[in-house]
């Protein structure tokens, strides 16, 4: 089963050194963060991302201004220097993804934030971080596209791009929050997963979520679970930058630590040197894929809401899932048995949970702010269950899908 409580850490994962101990502040960062007031405050999604990044130990941000993500950069420009971290405004989004990847190779926990046009520019760099297995996080606060689109309006148009945007085969880890609190939690999780899986993790936000304010009480730092990359313990001449092991999660040295390794965007062997040998190329590609599929239970998180007796299921993510949740309550009042299945991890796609949902219900409703990106995945899995009816609700005019919209369409389809 892939159901997981979203507020608890995944049970299988091991705690790390920096985890749950209410230790004495050792560094300037710890001191600052432990003295920060943890009372309930009104906070934007973008603010929550910035504070989530800081609490996850991010100490490097490179970015370029773009609506509707700019607040993340603005907050980190003020906060990172206080903690001795680096904030740099680069000349464009391409430079931003490159700078965070370089910083990460030097040992930083690095993050950037952008929106559609910048996310498109970053795709080559995202592919580089993936093939070189360099931890970093890209936050994409989605706005209406294509191109410049509607910069201040909401859309969910990068669900497929976040999976397939960079050329070549490269599996993705993409997280998708639906509330301001979850923006904070999933930013920490994104940083943690990037460190653990040595890859570029993408956090998708909806424009409305980035700018919406909600009352949030951030947890005490002692309760924030932070994962950092595993460091090699072998002598330098034994070090393999891409070491083999069962779960494909191998130690990572940083520049300046005596390991003197090579990193290239070319297809490479385990040491990191370029190769044209078919067997080594196949090994590398396999490693990138298996790193995700062998750890799918650790990666996939879904929320299952009122699904126990549901005959109708709504499958939605992000801000649209918020509307769907309200629609579930409205429908239940009318005696319609509806539930909601919401992926917090959108890639890798929660295939098993969706297959179970398709087995259990008669109708699946898929509302989304695009022309059918999420529903493609449902259709991919529905092929052996032709008796499940699929109701699509799609909108790309900058307006949200309301609970009433979902309820009406659902009733029409019954």
């Amino acid at each position: 089963m892939q159901k997981k409580q979203i507020t608890k850490p995944a049970p299988k994962a091991k705690p790390t050194k920096t985890a749950a101990k209410p230790a004495k502040p050792e560094t300037k960062i710890d001191e600052l963060q432990s003295t920060r007031e943890r009372k309930t405050v009104l906070m934007q999604g973008n603010e929550a991302v910035a504070y989530g990044a800081l609490d996850a130990g991010c100490n490097f941000f490179a970015g370029y201004p773009i609506t509707p993500s700019t607040e993340i950069a603005e907050i980190l420009a003020a906060e990172l220097p206080k903690r001795g971290g680096v904030f740099v405004q680069m000349e464009d989004e391409i430079a931003s993804i490159c700078a965070i990847t370089g910083a990460s190779l030097a040992g930083a926990k690095a993050l950037t934030a952008t929106s559609g046009p910048g996310f498109s520019l970053m795709q080559e760099g995202i592919g580089f971080a993936k093939i070189t297995e360099t931890p970093c996080v890209v936050v994409n606060v989605q706005r209406v596209g294509p191109s410049t689109g509607m910069p201040t309006s909401c859309a969910q148009g990068e669900i497929q791009q976040s999976r397939w945007g960079s050329h070549g085969d490269s599996p993705a880890i993409v997280l998708y929050p639906d509330s301001v609190k979850e923006c904070y939690e999933l930013t920490i999780r994104a940083v943690n997963l990037s460190e653990k899986y040595r890859t570029c993790v993408i956090l998708l936000l909806d424009e409305v979520l980035g700018h919406m304010r909600e009352a949030v009480r951030l947890p005490d730092l002692a309760n924030v679970r932070v994962i950092s990359r595993i460091k090699p313990t072998v002598p330098p001449h034994w070090y393999k930058h891409y070491d083999e092991n069962q779960k494909y999660l191998s130690p990572l040295a940083s520049y300046g630590e005596g390991y003197r390794f090579h990193v290239t965007g070319l297809t490479h062997d385990q040491l990191g040197f370029p190769t044209n040998k078919a067997v080594e190329a196949a090994d590398m590609m396999d490693r990138l894929r298996k790193k995700i599929v062998y750890n799918i239970r650790d990666l996939v998180q879904i929320e299952s809401y009122e699904m126990e007796d549901a005959r109708i299921a709504i499958f939605a993510a992000g801000i649209t899932a918020r509307a769907a949740k309200a629609a579930v309550a409205m429908a239940r009042q009318e005696g319609i048995k509806v539930g909601l299945l919401r992926p917090l991890t959108i890639w890798p796609f929660p295939d098993d949970a969706v297959r179970k949902m398709l087995r259990d219900v008669d109708i699946v409703v898929v509302p989304e702010l695009n022309q059918g990106q999420l529903v493609r995945e449902i259709q991919r899995l529905v092929k052996d269950r032709s008796d499940s009816k699929l109701i699509k609700i799609q909108r790309v005019n900058g307006k949200l899908i309301s609970p009433a919209d979902i309820l009406r369409k659902m009733k029409e389809g019954i």
């Binding site: 430079a95 910083a103 390794f261 040197f273 370029p274």
Partner: protein, 280 residues
């Protein structure tokens, strides 16, 4: 090159890893790499603290052969990756090896902004006037009327003066040399690495197999002779009337200024902010 015995160079190469190298016979890249290694060997730097970063192209293949921390990045982006490394670990010596297409076409934006910031990177730009790796296409430094596979009737575009570009963008150290003048190149590379700020060295080089063949320049020796005969030191050029300097490669250090370096300024900012107790 006489002051560092040849054996030293071998100590800096990854002999057992990726040789033979990819460069054609007569290519200047090996000569330039030799001068970089000799310069570094003559300095007292722990090689664990040296990072060599490159983009895409013939010269950008250098890092794989040397025993430093090495990073072979995307086309044009080496300076952006290097900026991230340097900002996170300012004590590292970050050397960028790049080419004319990599650094002034696709990567031109990163070059000018790194120069403007005056971040302490040493950019060694091997200028062979052509895209060699992809087989001889026109680059921003392919001379006017020269032949390239994408300019079969002659290049109608004017070419970049790379050093002028770097000077205009605010680089605090700018020098030009050639692959023929190895001792001079070695000295300049050493000085540039020691320079606290953004340094750009244009090394005029020979690509006999592609550029030379397309433009009937003869073989590698002829192209080396051209570098010798068609270049003049800056000090001599300053004494000559402009018509005698026209078309010549002017070698030497064109600028060596001390102005605030970016990572040092960032460290100062952090100190200032922390002294304020984190209040703006």
């Amino acid at each position: 090159m006489a002051n560092v015995p040849q054996k030293i160079i071998h100590e800096y190469l990854r002999h057992d890893k990726k040789f033979p190298h990819v460069w054609c016979a007569g290519c200047s890249n090996g000569i330039v790499l030799g001068t970089i290694i000799r310069a570094l060997a003559s300095m007292d730097i722990d090689r664990d603290d040296i990072v060599m970063v490159s983009g895409i192209g013939c010269s950008s293949r250098m890092p794989v052969y040397v025993d430093f921390n090495t990073l072979h990045t995307l086309h044009g982006r080496s300076i952006a990756y290097a900026t991230g490394i340097k900002l996170h670990k300012p004590h590292l010596k970050v050397i960028v090896v790049t080419g004319d297409g990599d650094c002034t076409a696709i990567g031109g934006n990163h070059l000018i902004h790194a120069a403007r910031r005056n971040i302490d990177l040493t950019v060694i730009l091997v200028n062979n006037n052509i895209y060699g790796m992809t087989g001889g296409q026109c680059s921003p430094t392919t001379p006017h009327e020269a032949i390239a596979t994408t300019a079969p009737y002659g290049n109608i575009e004017p070419d970049f003066n790379i050093c002028e570009l770097a000077l205009g963008a605010g680089a605090s150290y700018v020098a030009r040399t050639t692959a023929y003048h190895t001792q001079e190149t070695q000295n300049i590379v050493k000085e540039a690495i020691e320079h606290p700020g953004f340094a750009l060295i244009e090394v005029v080089s020979a690509c006999p197999v592609i550029y030379g063949r397309l433009n009937k320049k003869g073989g590698a020796p002829e192209m080396m002779k051209e570098m010798r005969d068609n270049s003049i030191p800056l000090a001599a050029a300053e004494k000559l009337p402009p018509e005698k300097v026209e078309g010549k490669i002017i070698r030497g250090v064109l600028r060596k200024d001390l102005r605030p370096e970016y990572t040092a300024q960032y460290a100062d900012l952090v100190k200032r902010v922390q002294a304020m107790g984190g209040d703006k």
